[in-house]
């Protein structure tokens, strides 16, 4: 479970480029919930995710993950309870390390690292069976450098790495946005499969309203650093993109001008 209360964050405070990214943003995600987050450019989606992960520190407000106040903790101290997949397929893995070395890094996420061999014999079966579940033939390429894989393959492995050890929440930051449509739908299907199988609590930022309604069990829309609406359960069933837009206009009395949101 994760609770964010009244988060504020302003970039470039006191400069001409002052940019308030979060303005009193609050959100509670319950155990086992899969929440999709939408919003136009600059709505604060990525900043919110970065604040949850610890990559940026909020100016005020409180972030509680699994009953622990993590507001002031740096990224690496939160990593035990927060797993992430980035938008850039190259960002979630190390291309100079082998597939098994990347997985070995991930299996120790948030734990103490000692001087014993990183890639242990007893990990290999687990690595192989989880790679086999991707159906990409990677289970026979454990010793290959990560850099030899395509963007889609690397994103699939990133997803696997994020789910290799338990976490309180999985953060997905537009993780299919940089992939071609076919690979994107493969990675998205894989995402829902992993989240369902392991009953993960997840927060997925997406640029596409369609995608936001298709997967997950709750949808949150951000606008100007705040939650403008939050729908789940019966209200969300059968909802279409045009309904979302109407809902948004009704709530805010605003026109959405960001074409990418309409087209996505």
């Amino acid at each position: 479970m994760i609770t964010a209360t009244d988060l504020t964050l302003t970039f470039g405070k006191g400069t001409p480029l002052e940019n308030p990214a979060l303005r009193g943003m609050s959100l509670t995600v319950n155990q086992g919930e899969f929440v999709t987050v939408i919003g136009s450019n600059g709505a604060g989606k990525s900043t919110f995710l970065n604040a949850l992960a610890g990559e940026v520190m909020v100016d005020s407000g409180k972030i509680i993950v699994d009953n622990q106040d993590v507001t002031k903790l740096p990224t690496y101290k939160r990593a035990g309870s927060v797993a992430r997949v980035f938008q850039d397929p190259l960002a979630g893995t190390c291309e100079g390390l082998t597939i098994e070395e990347n997985l070995a890094l991930a299996i120790k996420r948030g734990q103490r690292r000692g001087l014993s061999a990183a890639v242990k014999g007893r990990y290999l079966e687990q690595f192989k069976s989880s790679l086999a579940s991707l159906n990409l033939g990677l289970e026979n390429r454990l010793g290959d450098k990560m850099g030899l894989l395509s963007g889609g393959q690397r994103q699939a492995v990133s997803l696997l790495m994020a789910s290799l050890t338990p976490s309180a929440i999985l953060l997905l930051d537009e993780h299919t946005a940089a992939l071609d449509p076919k690979t994107a739908s493969f990675v998205l299907a894989l995402t829902t499969q992993i989240i369902e199988q392991q009953k993960l609590t997840a927060l997925m930022v997406t640029h596409s309203m369609k995608q936001a309604l298709e997967v997950g069990d709750r949808t949150v829309m951000l606008h100007q650093g705040q939650v403008v609406f939050d729908i789940a359960g019966k209200d969300r069933e059968g909802l279409e993109v045009k309904d979302l837009l109407e809902l948004f206009e009704k709530q805010r009395g605003l026109e959405i001008t960001d074409d990418s949101l309409l087209l996505g």
């Binding site: 070395e101 890094l105 120790k108």
Partner: protein
Amino acid sequence: MLSNIAFYGAIETGLIYGLVAFGIYISFRVLDFPDLTVDGSFPLGAAVAAVLIIEGVNPWLATGAAVIAGMGAGAVTALLNVKLNILNLLASILTMIALYSVNLRIMGRPNIALLTEETVLTPWYNLDLEFHQVPVVLFTLVVLVGLVLLWRFMKSETGLAMRATGANPRMARAQGIATGAMIVLGVALSNGLVGLAGALFAQSQGAADVTMGVGVIVIGLASLIGGEAVLTPSSVVRALIACVIGAIIYRLAIALALNADFLGLQAQDLNLITAVLVTLAIVLPGVRTSVIARLTRKKA
């Protein structure tokens, strides 16, 4: 072309610079941290070892102290970068400059002679070996032990965390790796190896001198890049072997260049030769690739 003594001398210093190249491999390659501290930590290691040896301390203990001193110097550079947010290159230059004064303070004078003292090499002269072969045998052992330990470390959980820190810090943090601590540990380890090299160099050359660190970074880099040009560093162990091979080739090339009378080169031309060799080592792999590409295209 080379006399026996000049040949063994080149191997001996090559092995010592192999240790320096290990250190530079950790900072420049593993951590992507351009660290010039080595120009100060090399004479620091020499100074600490020399002072302790003339005080009558066991030479191996003195050498161990030199390693710790080197690690301290590296830790200072890394902390300036990590805690005070000073640019890594600048942080290392600050430490390097400061070490010049520190080294003079440690030695109390610009140089200390060790010719008559007992060093780590002394017991080995009792073995049935030629005089100029002794340092080669001992330093080969030291380099081999260092290579195996470093290789094992880079394959360990902590070593892997260090490699991830240099390759993709954002991913490393997301995996719960304290990247700042990894940088401190790595740069300390790197300069500990350089301190060791300085201590051994002083003992084999018979003196520690405050100016002996000038250009160590360039020689170390030349060894690293030259080794990588000869042996493609596709794995950690190959990269480490490349460091040693590069350092030995570099010293042999220097010895050959200085011994080839028809070239008319003298000792003062050393830095010029180094610069030329480094340039060649950087450029040649590219030339080789394009030549191979052209040849295979002709075949096809």
